[in-house]
């Protein structure tokens, strides 16, 4: 596999503000990479640096093996889909699609043919003569995508392309973008703040916070083995429960502090007496018959969506449980909860790093 995009030791400063800190990232050809994180984490800056719209302060940035640090955007051969789509309002759909080709001096007839081919695959054939203002949100989104596809670039960059669409269309476009990526064999970098988009679309997820890559890897790897508390809380919905705990004398159990101390087993040897944070995913906690569980928790709020019931306990450190079976439960009940020892995540109390 060849490396399509390589970043090593990349830093970006805006005056005194350190926006990207020592970024190491290498993307193989044909991979779909998602950059995800809360707003202001540097994911958009990183994407814009790849496009050449921002210059990096130190480090190396290579696209298809060539050093691109000081190469202007037009010579990088990358395509970008903007959050606002950035369609040229004074051009028709066809002119929007062929703009990049016309700049490169490709003949009118050839450009028109290319536009028609791309439009046929994205369902825009009937709309080539329209202006962007005459299109719906979803259609504009397609034009923005088509404008990127028509050039067969070395990489596609997406800057939160679905955030302006309504929920149903977003789910639909998610699949469409991924299908398109696979069909073109393209290399894509996709910025989003929505972890579900990142998890469902990407082969490789990069979680960022404050300009630092907190963890990167396959989506399920991030879900199963989060490197720290931040990643653990960011990936997964509803978010992981964090409960203060102390390692038991045998080193194989945790005394978790949920109002009163309760002991739960873990599957690895820990340092006895160490103060830690236990991480429990809501979907790994199961509501069981009295006497079967490791926990006994008082029920606070019960919310049901039909497919699942969200139970929030009334303990000091709130614990959320997702239960898919229809067991009746009411506020004030004391319920028994079980959890598999292998599903208990343990993080250092101070640094938040996984133990």
């Amino acid at each position: 596999m060849t490396k399509q995009i390589e970043l090593s030791g990349v830093n970006k400063y805006y005056g005194a503000f350190h926006a990207l800190k020592n970024i190491e990232l290498s993307i193989e050809k044909g991979t779909f990479v998602a950059l995800v994180g809360p707003s202001g984490c540097g994911k958009s800056t990183l994407l814009r640096s790849l496009a050449g719209l921002e210059s990096i302060s130190t480090g190396d940035l290579k696209i298809a093996g060539e050093l691109m640090n000081n190469v202007p955007p037009r010579k990088r051969d990358i395509a970008m889909v903007f959050q606002s789509y950035a369609l040229y309002p004074h051009m028709t759909v066809e002119q929007n699609l062929t703009y990049s080709l016309r700049i490169r001096g490709i003949g009118k007839a050839e450009a028109k043919k290319a536009a028609e081919e791309v439009a046929a695959t994205t369902g825009l054939s009937q709309l080539l003569g329209r202006y962007p203002r005459e299109l719906s949100g979803g259609q504009r989104q397609r034009v923005a995508m088509s404008r990127a596809i028509i050039r067969h670039p070395k990489a596609f960059l997406f800057d939160e392309p679905l955030s302006n669409l309504d929920a149903a269309l977003r789910v639909h476009m998610r699949k469409e973008i991924r299908t398109l990526h696979d069909r073109l064999g393209a290399t894509s970098v996709y910025v989003t703040h929505d972890q579900i988009e990142a998890m469902t679309m990407a082969d490789h997820v990069v979680v960022m916070k404050d300009g630092v890559i907190e963890q990167q890897g396959a989506p399920l790897e991030l879900y199963d083995r989060p490197a720290n508390k931040f990643v653990a809380g960011f990936i997964g919905s509803p978010a992981m429960n964090f409960v203060p705990a102390t390692v038991g004398a045998d080193g194989r159990s945790l005394a978790v502090d949920v109002g009163e101390k309760q002991t739960i087993p873990v599957d690895r040897q820990l340092e006895p007496g160490r103060v830690v944070t236990a991480g429990l995913r809501p979907e790994h906690l199961h509501f069981v018959d009295p006497g079967q569980g490791v926990f006994r928790l008082p029920v606070g709020i019960v919310e049901s969506t039909g497919s699942a019931t969200y139970i929030t306990t009334s303990t000091a450190a709130e614990v959320t449980i997702v239960e898919t079976s229809r067991r009746s439960v009411r506020t004030g009940d004391i319920i028994d909860i079980s959890v598999r020892p292998s599903d208990v995540h343990v993080f250092d109390d101070k640094t938040g790093v996984r133990i």
């Binding site: 496009a51 202007p72 955007p73 037009r74 959050q83 309002p89 404008r147």
Partner: protein
């Protein structure tokens, strides 16, 4: 009071205000058509009993208005071209970069707007005479008007450029254009309406400019219509109908431009002309 009555009252007030505001214009048009005796009649008549249409050709011929208007046109067009060429670039830079120096620059530009022409004319005149610019009086006036009206143009056009999303330019860069290419291909076409409107406003201002022209242009054959109108009026003037005819010929084209383009001008001033 009901909603419709309220609206009617507002409408009446608006019409009254407009009537007060437009009365001088109306008086100009009817006085131009009155005869010498009707003009001074007491009480004044609000509609000419016998419209004197031949006042117009008489004034046009006797005052040599064709030449004056041509000079006005040359000066106004020259100023508009100069301001547009220089001002568009300036406005773009001020729209796209934000830092302390840009703020200082904007402040100075607005300061220039505050200074009246009658204050500026003395230093300008002295400077021009030192440089020998008084030998090219129309060019000298064009430059003076450009200097005075540029801030107004820059501030208006800057707002237009700020309404063009930066992402469009970035998309053009990624699509393979250079910064200069993106400016001419994407930004300029989108800002065209705002630039056009600002240029028309500048043209209308420059067409009526008086202080610089009066002070700098000595030769009668190079003077614009505003100076010609002024020289028409002496201390013992009594031919007001002819003066009003002159004024009518002078301002009607400008009024016509404004009325015809009024919708575009207003929308250009408020919306920045971009959706």
């Amino acid at each position: 009071m009901s909603e419709t009555n309220r609206n009617r009252l507002m409408l009446v007030i608006a019409i009254l205000m407009a009537a007060v505001y437009l009365f001088p214009l109306y008086w100009m048009y009817i006085t131009a058509l009155k005869s010498g005796s009707e003009m001074f009649a007491t009480p004044p008549s609000f509609w000419p009993s016998q419209p004197q249409w031949d006042t117009y050709p008489f004034v046009w011929e006797s005052r040599n208005m064709g030449r004056y208007l041509w000079n006005s046109l040359v000066i106004a067009s020259g100023a508009v071209v100069l301001i547009t060429v220089l001002g568009v670039g300036c406005a773009y830079v001020l729209a796209r970069y934000r830092n302390v120096w840009v703020d200082i620059g904007l402040f100075l530009i607005l300061m220039l707007q505050v200074l009246p022409a009658s204050l500026m004319i003395t230093p300008i005149f002295v400077g021009y005479s030192q440089l020998g610019m008084l030998n090219y009086p129309r060019l000298a006036v064009i430059i003076a008007i450009a200097a005075k009206s540029m801030p107004f143009f820059v501030v208006l056009v800057r707002a237009t450029f700020m309404a063009v999303p930066q992402e469009l330019e970035e998309a053009a860069l990624v699509d393979g254009n250079s910064r200069v290419g993106a400016f001419f291909n994407i930004v300029l076409p989108l800002a065209r309406n705002g630039i056009l409107v600002s240029a028309i406003l500048i043209f209308m201002q420059a067409f009526g400019e008086f202080v610089y022209s009066k002070s700098i242009i000595q030769a009668v054959e190079l003077q614009p219509a505003s100076v010609g109108l002024n020289s028409f009026m002496g201390p013992n003037t009594n031919e007001w109908n002819r003066i009003m005819a002159y004024a009518t010929i002078y301002v009607t084209p400008i009024l016509a431009i404004f009325v015809l383009l009024q919708r575009r001008i207003v929308s250009g001033l408020t919306s920045g002309a971009i959706k």
